[in-house]
């Protein structure tokens, strides 16, 4: 192994792959049955965290950053003057195995620039996965990128070796895509997504009849949208996400605040701040939709097309719907409890279990870790002391904001200056 050469390639191709947000290694069920290497059952593990605070779980690299496309938002676009490199299939296999054996990673996340043709590229990605599975007896996690425009046959084969497949739709709106990636077509993104969804469903129903049915992409599909590159609203982003969750059974939709990498006048200029607060609010909304029983219409709609930046989306919803509150913590069911600002799902479960033994009061709730500074305006419990005054939404918001701290203080005060 020529370590110097590999090092150089690794630097270029890891750097180019880092804008893909997904690093999840969970959700698969691939067990190490053959006394081979690796085990991808159960929860994911973050083996390290980069100085930007992001998890490092997989060896995330491009096979190559040569690309025939010229998408304005992408660093590897053909018109960008950067160093190019390409890994050989065996080099990726060796790196993955050696990193995995040392417990650096949970597996491989392999993406690529598109060279020659989508099929040609997809074929190479599959070769790597196949080699890992069949020659190295590797049972760790493999995440492959579905290359937009790849044929159905190849997408079928990819799912036989990968745990997860993903294709990034990148731009949330059709108009945005036309503006920034004129040679790409939305259909090219959706076709592989659709093929993989159908195969997953087929394999699942077959498995019900024949237990020995092989695995097909057991960790499902994910996708990613860039936010802040075009002037889309939060509603547009989240309605697209909801559509993808429903229509294609996405396991995850990721939101990636646009990082300025180009002087292209169609895009935010270099030096523009990465919209991290907005990204955070979108993820909060995503969680409310997937785990808290909210529907998208409740959180974002015509009257309310963008999320509040100074308060979280659940609190924002509660303030618009004060007539649902206060609720009794000792009687309300799970769905209602989950809607109380300041109660996360962990607190909800603690309350549900704890109240079987005794009625809960303020002290119990506080010790369990409930954020009472927010929750107290929306609940009653086993105590005669509770907020009896009828506050207006604005009053509650003011009271909560004045007793809480935010790491986004700078961002928020700048925005106030802008609008105030």
């Amino acid at each position: 192994m020529n370590y110097e050469r590999i090092k150089e390639k690794l630097n270029i191709l890891a750097d180019a792959a880092k804008y893909d947000v997904s690093c999840s290694s969970s959700g698969s069920n691939r067990k190490n049955k053959t006394n081979g290497l690796g085990n991808a059952e159960g929860i994911g593990i973050c083996h390290s965290y980069t100085p930007d605070g992001r998890c490092v779980s997989l060896l995330k690299i491009l096979l190559t950053n040569y690309c025939i496309y010229d998408c304005a938002y992408c660093v590897t676009r053909i018109s960008n003057d950067i160093k190019r490199a390409a890994f050989k299939v065996q080099e990726v296999v060796d790196l993955t195995i050696n990193f995995y054996r040392r417990n650096y990673i949970e597996g491989l996340f392999l993406s690529s620039g598109i060279f020659k043709s989508p099929d040609h590229t997809m074929e190479r990605l599959i070769q790597v996965a196949k080699k890992l599975r069949l020659e190295e007896n590797f049972n760790g996690y493999i995440h492959l990128k579905s290359i937009p425009g790849a044929s159905d046959e190849l997408m079928y084969e990819a799912g036989l070796y990968a745990d997860r497949l993903s294709v990034n739709i990148e731009i949330p709106t059709k108009e945005g895509l036309k503006l920034l990636a004129p040679d790409k077509n939305r259909k090219d993104f959706l076709q592989p997504m659709n093929k993989v969804k159908n195969e997953i469903q087929k394999y699942k129903s077959e498995r019900k009849l024949i237990k020995s049915t092989p695995k097909y992409a057991p960790a499902g599909q994910s996708t990613q949208m860039i936010v802040g590159a075009t002037n889309e609203t939060d509603a547009e982003v989240m309605y697209t996400a909801t559509y993808l969750y429903k229509k294609y059974n996405m396991k995850r939709v990721y939101y990636s605040g646009y990082i300025p990498i180009s002087y292209d006048s169609r895009l935010p200029a270099i030096g523009t701040e990465v919209p991290m607060l907005r990204e955070n609010r979108l993820y909060q909304t995503d969680w409310l939709l997937r785990f808290y029983g909210f529907s998208i219409e409740e959180l974002l709609n015509k009257n309310h097309p963008n999320l509040d930046s100074d308060i979280d989306p659940k609190l924002s919803w509660a303030l618009r719907n004060l007539h649902h509150f206060p609720i009794d913590i000792n009687k309300s069911d799970k769905q209602l409890l989950a809607r109380v600002p300041g109660l996360g799902m962990k607190s909800v479960y603690k309350i549900l279990h704890g109240r079987k033994y005794r009625k809960l009061n303020w002290e119990h709730l506080q010790k369990m870790g409930v954020a009472l500074n927010r929750a107290k305006y929306f609940i009653t419990c086993d105590s005669r002391n509770f907020e009896t005054k009828d506050y207006t939404p604005a009053q509650i918001k003011y009271k909560i904001l004045s007793t809480s701290q935010t790491k986004y203080k700078n961002t928020l005060s700048q925005q106030l200056n802008l609008f105030g």
């Binding site: 370590y3 690794l10 750097d15 804008y19 100085p51 040392r102 417990n103 279990h353």
Partner: protein, 254 residues
């Protein structure tokens, strides 16, 4: 106050609790014999660990409560925190008065405290799953040194055995001076006299390619960082400084 002094083993702790019930004593405290400080008015009972008593109590806890109650107790024990023995005693006593599982009675003081300790244990166990960095020795053993806050290696064993079934490995706890060694067939507990320079991957013990892979890993770590999103505080929250000396991506110089 009567002090029950046990040998520091989990079975010893269970034997102590069993005997407290046997002698029908109250106003008691359980201490490790090695850390016990003699007091003038203290009454002491030295407990001799008995497998039979320990197993009976274990069965009793699981039967009266549930397997979860027992696992909470075991995990809390691994914390080695001062006074955890008395907390476990309180928990057990509460369980036997309630005559049902109390593991989720979060409004009870003792239960909540145990569950908070267990959460810390779980976090530390998970950290070890993540932060173990194997280095390949000359005799083909993937060797890692760690120093976890709590004694969690017994909890990590299964995870590593499932994952690295086809390689010899050893994870060594420098703080407690013991390790788990897997020889391709079974795991065993070992104690070693390690050289003082074990943290540097000198070619005296490790394969020449070992450092190359650490360098590659460090390089990858650097390249995958997005500098316009730097968030040092979050980084340190996830990877606290005390673990850095075992993580090649943090200590290696490029």
């Amino acid at each position: 106050m009567t002090y029950f002094l046990y040998d520091g083993s989990f079975e010893g702790l269970l034997t102590s609790i069993f005997e407290i019930y046997e002698y029908k004593l109250d106003k008691v405290s359980i201490c490790k014999i090695s850390t016990y400080e003699k007091g003038f008015f203290n009454k002491e009972i030295e407990v001799i660990t008995q497998q039979e008593k320990s197993t009976r109590l274990q069965k009793g806890i699981i039967k009266m409560g549930s397997a979860l109650d027992f696992s909470q107790i075991y995990r809390a024990f691994l914390s080695e925190l001062k006074g955890v023995e008395d907390l476990i005693l309180n928990y057990t006593q509460y369980l036997f008065t309630e005559k049902r599982s109390v593991a989720k009675d979060y409004a009870n003081k003792h239960v909540l405290e145990i569950s908070q300790i267990v959460k810390k244990i779980g976090r530390e166990k998970h950290r070890m799953d993540a932060f173990v960095r194997f280095r390949l020795t000359k005799d083909n053993i993937y060797f890692a040194t760690v120093a976890p806050d709590f004694n969690v290696l017994p909890l990590n064993e299964v995870h590593f055995r499932k994952r690295y079934a086809d390689q010899k490995w050893c994870i060594y706890d420098l703080k407690r001076n013991y390790g788990i060694f897997y020889d391709l067939h079974k795991t065993e507990i070992i104690s070693l006299d390690l050289p003082t320079n074990i943290l540097s991957s000198s070619e005296e013990f490790f394969k020449p390619e070992e450092l190359h892979f650490q360098q590659l890993w460090k390089n990858y770590f650097k390249s995958t960082t997005i500098s316009s999103r730097i968030n040092k505080k979050l980084h340190q929250q996830h990877v606290p400084k005390r673990y850095w000396k075992y993580l090649s991506e943090k200590y290696l110089q490029v």
